[in-house]
Structure formats: C-alpha cells, structure tokens
Amino acid sequence: MKKYLMWALTLTLVLSLLAIGGIGCEEEGEEEPTPTPEVTATPVKEAYKVGAILDLSGPCSNLGIPEERTAEMMADQVNAAGGINGHPLEVIIYDTEGDSTKSVTLVTKLIEEDEVLAIIGPSRSGSSGAVIDTVTTSEIPIVSLAAARSIVVPVEERYWVFKTPQTEYEIIPEIYTYLQSADITDVAIISDTGGFGVAGRTLCNDLADDYGITIVDDQTFADADTSMISQMTHIKGENPQAVVCWSTDKGSAIVAQDMKTLQMDDVLLFMSHGVANKAFVQAGGEAVEGVIIPAGKLLAADEVPADDPQKEVLVSYRDDYEAIYGAGSIDTFGGHCYDGLSWVIMALEEMPEGLTLADARAFIRDAIEDMGTFIGTGGVYNITAEDHLGLGTGNVYMYEIVNGEWVWFK
C-alpha cells in the first residue's frame, strides 16, 4: 500500500515539475510540437508534408532546438498566409538524439509511413552521412543542416542531397586571409575530437602553406573535458601569434577562459562559426571578449549595409524569430533551417497538382537544383548540378565580441 502512495507522490511531483516547465514555455510563447494546419476559407486541400529530423536532445541539441523553432514558425507563417497554392504545410519533426542509427530509422519512417515530400536535417555531419544511403535508394530530396563538406561531395553520389550551412571551406580562408594581411605567421590549432573539430583541424593544416602560415602546435580535446589549461599551456610554450579554436560552444568557451587564465593576452583567438550563437557569448562572459569569429551575416543583421542583397531576408527572419522567442535569441543554426525549408517551400510552390509521391519528390529535387540564385540567411546560394551547396565567398563576416555583442570586425 505504502508503495502506491509513494508512486502517487512521484506522479504529482513529476506533473508539477512538468507544469513548471510548461509555464516556462508559455512565457516564451512556444507552440505545440506539431502545428495544426490553419483552417482557411477555401476548401482545405491535402497537406504538403515535409519531414525534419533534428538533434532535439543529445550533445548538439543547441543546434536542433532553434532549427525546430524555425521550422515551426515558418509552417505557421505559410499556413496563416493560406498555405502553398492552397495546400497547408505540415512539418513533421522527430528527435534524432544525435544518434546516426536513429536518424536512419526516422528517415525510413518519414519516407514510408509519413510519406513526406522532402526531408530537412539532420543537424550533424555524422547523422547526415548515415542517412545518405537510405535517401538515395528511396529517392527523396534531403537538405542537410550539418557543416561537413563531405555531405554534398562527391556530387554524383549525392544526387538527392543538398545542404545549407557554410563549411570550413568558406570560413577558414577568411581567417587565413586576415592573418596574412596582418603578417601573422605562427598559428596554433586547438580543436575537439568530434566530426566538426576534425574537419576544421584538417583544413587548417592543409591550407596553412598556401597562406604562408606555420602551424606551431596542434592540440585536441574531448567533448567531456572540463579544463583546457593543459592544452593551452602546451600551446603557450610554442609561442604562437594566433590561436584557431575549432569546436562548439562549451569547449570553445573553456578555451577562451583558460587562455585568459594563462594570461596569453597578446595572442589573437579565432573561433569557428560553430559558436555563432547567443548562448556562447552569455556563457563565455568576459572570457570571450575580443574573440574573433567568422560567421554568416545574420548575427549583425542591423550592421549589414542596406545595399547588401541579404539585408531584407536577414532582418525579416531575425525580427520574426525574436518576436516569438525573445530578443537576442537569434542564431545562425535556425538560419540554416530557414534557408533549407525555404528551398523546399519554393519548390512546392512551383509544383503542379496531382503528381504521384515519387514524381513529386523528384520534382522537388529538380526544382531545388534549378532554383538559380537564392538569397538566404547563410549567404547568396547558387545551386547547380555540380554544387549542392552553392555558396561562394563574400557571405561571411568577421565578428569580434565586444561587451557581449557581435560586432563587425573590420
């Protein structure tokens, strides 16, 4: 009997905890996970279904959550405006937990059970690599939101795969160009051991010679590391003029903090676009002051000159997003999802009625490939049959963190 009382108690406890969570969410104005299609005056046509598999939990959930929010927001906007040619848009979102095997089962579910027209995601390179085989054999277009270039290369094996985020190939040359212009030659690299870090580290080493740069030290750390003092001590011993840190929020913030601790004040610190979000600046606090980060223009939407083609989309996406999720909540990860889902919506707008599922999927793929120039939050895309990312140079700004704000670094 006592046992059941205990359980009644737990249940109440859990429910109250969840209620607290619920209240917290309401304050942020968060919506239900799957938006219900708006009822419009015109007879409702069958909904266009798009799948999204995102890292809502697990080590990269700080990527997945803004992506999820963006997808929900866009679906609401589309449906409020009467849908796509009268069809409501339904985005079906699943959590990959950062697990590549689960990504595969989710993709299968989206393809075979939910019968979606296209898929957005996954958030990470490893999971994206895992689903390529399945989407290719099932013939459905997918827009990955992960960084690695290998997702869309070689393009002949990636017929159904597109991606939106910048890769290290867009970012590192920007850093190296700057270093060259500032006559800096001795550079140390510190990166994490995950896919993102390894890709950055490899390219940093490969490109160094082209820019007359010597890599004086090359350190790595694991996801779980709680201190980088040891690695930074090693780097300090090699006397670099600049440090390039290639990792995500947590590791990068600790690197910046530990550099301050070791009083390496005259060494420039560059970081990857993986930290281009508000949480990094907030958590880093005074330690990340002066850190230089190349990233998309979204973070400084206001500073973008009015004649920049991206100005309009940057400001409107930023304003829409922050209107729902609070000022300062914008980051580039949500932007990746915005660009990806926009491609799919544009393709759906052009799609004729009455196609079979297979034909509709093929049509969307072709439409994305033939889209021409697309102005998104991540840059000006020009997708072709040879390039399923389509980003050139000039889409990246160098930012410096000054007083907790992203400031355009000139």
Binding site: S100, K102, I111, A130
Partner: protein, 332 residues
C-alpha cells in the same frame, strides 16, 4: 506439474514469437517497422551475449559496445576499402574480435564485481576513442558499405535484411539456449552460484569465464557486422560508452536469467527509442527514464520473468474459476 507449466509456456512464447516474426515484414505492416525489427534483431544478438555473461555467469561487461564496434569496423573497412567479400569480412571480423577478447579475457577476468565493470568500461572508452582517431572516416564514420549477398541475390532492401538478420538472430538464440541447458551451461551457472564451489567440483573457472566472454564478444561482432552491412554507414558514435550501458539495460529489462528475455529487452528499448516515444518531442527522454525506473521497480527480474509469472497466475485463476464452475455444476 511445475515443469510442464514451464514447458508449455515456453512453447507458446516461442511459437507466438515466430508467428509475429513472420508476419511483421510484409506489406500490411507499415514499412519502417521492418527497419526497426532489423535493429531489434541486431540488438538482440548483442544482448543474448550479455545475458550469457551477466545473467548466467554473473560477470558484468560495461564495454560490449567495443566488440560490437570492432565487428562493424572490421566488416566495413575490409569490404569497402579492401573490397573483400562481405561474408569473408564478417568472418574475419568475428575471428579478430574473438581473438582480441581471448587475449584480454585472461587478465581482465582476474578482476571481480565493480572492478570488472570499470575495467571493461575503460576498455570501451579506449576502443571508442581509437575508432574516431585511427579508423578511416574519423568521427564522421564510413559510408557506402556494401550489402551482403548470396550469389546474385543482394540483401539490399530492409525486407530482405529482415530475414537475414532474424535468421542469424534465431541461430544465435538457439545456440545459446542449447548451451545453457548443457554441461557447459551448468558450469557457467555454477560459477555464478559460487566460484569456490565450482572450483571444488573441477570446473576451471577462469577458462569458462574467458570462453563465454569470447562467445558473447563474437555475438556482438556478428551483430556489428550485420549493422554495418545493413545501415551501409557506421560511425564511432554508434559504439560509444553509453551504448554499452544500454546493452546492459536491455539485458536486465528483458530478464537476465533467460535467453529469450533478450528479445524482449532489446525489443522494448529499441521500440521506445525508435517508435513509441516519437510523438513526445523533448519530453521523450523524461518518459524514457521514467519507464526504465518503473519497469525495474515493478518487474525487477525483467519483462520475461514477469510475463512468465503473470501467465502462471492467470492460469491459476482460470483453474480456480473452472473448479468453482464444476463445483456449482455438481451442486445443482
């Protein structure tokens, strides 16, 4: 009487399992269940190995993901990079994993209890890190691993892979069932019961521990190979230390002291993760944690034992009801 109830229930479970297994992959089941069932089959193979090791022999391993991974990576690298026949790759992977398990088995099984747990955990961490560092593909893993095929018949759809994986899985289950009820199986259970007593009746405790460890690692390796050839892509994250923990969870959830419990354990964990909780979004892991706790609190010996005892209880109730009916019939 007891024995007969046990037997009967045994056959009914196995038969219904087989019927279910045959029914699932066809068209009237939603397509992706086949994918999930393939995963369940693969996980069952790893879990059976752990049941033999933990449930029957009483030796814990928190590093089974390492052997699962070694199998997968050997298969992937040999068949993709060196263009070996996938079957041959799978065989070499199993032999290599077995040899590795044998070599480390003797020193590691000098440890007991939670020292054994932490040592196997450390082993899992080391192997996991080395996958990311030394194996081709690094942390992003290897893609484009070829399918298994017999002659011209390739296992290139989930429907075909389903039969392949469950074929393997059933063989593994039957072999394990046979071992458990044999001289070797009794020796293993004796080690679990009391190592001193086992030694006193001539059982070479160290050797049996290592042997069963090697066998369970070979199971894990085969499962890993099947995973690699089915998913066509593997990455280190599929074999991280948490996966080892989940394997233990599956073994305990199903019921440690039963080979067929592994099917239930793997089934419920995989279903929860890949299907049942999908609608809950971010609440998913909260509910997952709750279910883990509740199952273990109310069915501490696992699902299989719980089902078994429920069956016996229901049967008793039925008999009592029938007796009552007969008695009433006699009275009137």
């Amino acid at each position: 009487m007891l024995e007969r109830v046990k037997r009967k229930w045994y056959y009914s479970v196995i038969v219904s399992l087989l019927v279910l297994l045959i029914v699932i992959p066809f068209d009237w089941f939603p397509g992706h269940y086949t994918t999930i069932m393939v995963l369940i089959g693969i996980n069952t193979m790893v879990t059976v190995g752990l049941c033999l090791l933990l449930g029957y022999t009483g030796q814990v391993s928190l590093g089974h993901a390492a052997f699962y991974g070694i199998g997968a990576y050997f298969s992937a690298v040999l068949s993709k990079t060196y263009h070996l026949n996938p079957w041959l790759a799978m065989l070499i992977a199993a032999i290599a994993t077995g040899a590795f398990a044998y070599v480390i088995g003797y020193p590691i099984f000098r440890l007991k209890g939670n020292y054994l747990a932490v040592a196997t955990l450390a082993l899992g961490v080391i192997v996991y890190i080395l996958f990311g560092k030394l194996a081709p593909g690094g942390p992003d893993g290897i893609a484009g691993i070829p399918n298994l095929s017999i002659g011209g018949f390739a296992f290139d759809t989930w429907f075909k892979r389903y039969f392949l994986v469950w074929g393997f899985c059933l063989v593994v289950l039957l072999i394990s069932q046979n071992i458990v009820n044999s001289r070797s199986g009794r020796a293993l259970r004796a080690i679990h019961g009391s190592e001193a007593a086992a030694e006193s009746i001539g059982i070479n405790v160290d050797r049996f521990k290592v042997k069963i460890f090697v066998l369970s690692c070979v199971y894990a390796s085969l499962a890993g190979s099947l995973l690699a050839h089915s998913m066509a892509h593997i990455s280190p994250s599929s074999f991280d230390p948490m996966v080892s923990v989940i394997v233990v969870v599956m073994a305990v959830m199903g019921g440690l002291a039963s080979i067929w419990g592994a099917v239930f354990g793997a089934g419920i964990v995989v279903m929860l993760k890949h299907e049942l909780l999908l609608g809950f979004g971010e609440l998913e892991i909260i509910i997952y944690g709750l279910i883990l706790m509740l199952v273990m609190i109310f069915m501490p010996e696992g699902l299989f034992v719980w089902l078994k005892s429920s069956y016996v209880k229901l049967k008793e109730l039925y008999i009592r009801w029938r007796l009552g009916q007969i008695r009433r019939g006699a009275e009137t």
